[in-house]
Amino acid sequence: MIPARVKPPATTSADPIEASPLALQPESLSAFLRAYGTLWSHGVVDQTTKEMARIRNARRIDCPICKAIRFAGARREGLTEELVDRIRDDWAERDLAPRHKAALRAVDAFHDMAGALDPAGRRELLANFSPAEIVELSAGIALFLGFSKIAVALGGLPDEIPVHEQPTPQVPAGR
């Protein structure tokens, strides 16, 4: 376990975000929740594809909380743990839809090539996603990567957290 780098706010809230160090910066937290809610609940890419990309990123970063979460919208669309289990390092050899493989290749390009994607990867994305979907997917990967790294960098998380479902992020009221 990485030790907590900063003291979380003094609160009795049961809300995990309000009790986290992110609440020390309420304005940026609010802006992040608006962006994240827009990505998840006002997007053009299906929930399952985004969730597979998010989980692949979580496993690349090895972020305990990101690996443990499953968003309800992807579950409703049919995302199973059997499918999630195929998102490991050998995903390219697994039985996955071409759209999902294209998304996973994009995630790995963010990690392995600092975002550089080879021409075959671009063709694969363009064959499976509209340009607007590609923009949304890649912005999502940027947010997933950045915020998994925040969780790890700020520390204070247990090494293992049980898999659990959370509501799909929404744009908070009034934001």
């Binding site: 900063v6 600092a114 590609i134 949304e136």
Partner: protein, 156 residues
């Protein structure tokens, strides 16, 4: 130049590409710009980190607001020239050194951030300031890679 076959209207490559998802672009831009506009972190420090993260990723995050452009002007040319080898330069303060060291490890692997390196940032910025700094690094790292992924680096 981006490989996307469509674009929205906009003055810069990132506006034309990200504009294909306008509500998401607006929300992400507002989130990112907040750190410069509200000075949640010293803008000069953010600019140094924007440059260094960009060097490591291969593409700098383009400016998303006037405050980001102003921050570029706040860094003297000599310091800009040294940021890629800041550890060899006397131009950087102790706080800048601590934050650049932390930023580099954040980009490479946040699990490798040492306790002493984290403590140096917290001592310089405080708890709330460290949270803002780490959030800003997440934006710089994630969206520099986004810009490289879609080839949006240079402003027109």
């Amino acid at each position: 130049m981006t490989w996307l076959p469509e674009s929205a209207t906009g003055a810069t490559p990132i506006e034309r590409a990200f504009g294909l998802r306008p509500d998401l672009f607006a929300a992400c831009r507002d989130f990112a710009a907040l750190f410069w506009q509200k000075r949640l972190v010293d803008p000069t420090l953010l600019e140094l980190c924007r440059m260094r993260v960009g060097q490591m990723v291969g593409t700098e995050l383009p400016a998303l607001c006037d405050a980001m452009r102003d921050a570029r002007a706040s860094v003297p040319a000599a310091k800009r020239a040294d940021v890629g080898a800041w550890w060899n330069s006397a131009a950087f303060s102790d706080t800048e050194r601590a934050c650049l060291r932390f930023a580099e490890q954040f980009v490479l692997d946040p699990k490798g951030i040492g306790d002493n390196d984290a403590a140096a940032v917290v001592a310089a910025l405080g708890d709330a300031g460290t949270v803002a700094f780490v959030e800003a690094l997440a934006i710089l790292d994630g969206f520099s890679r986004f810009a490289r992924f879609l080839e949006l680096g240079a402003e027109s």
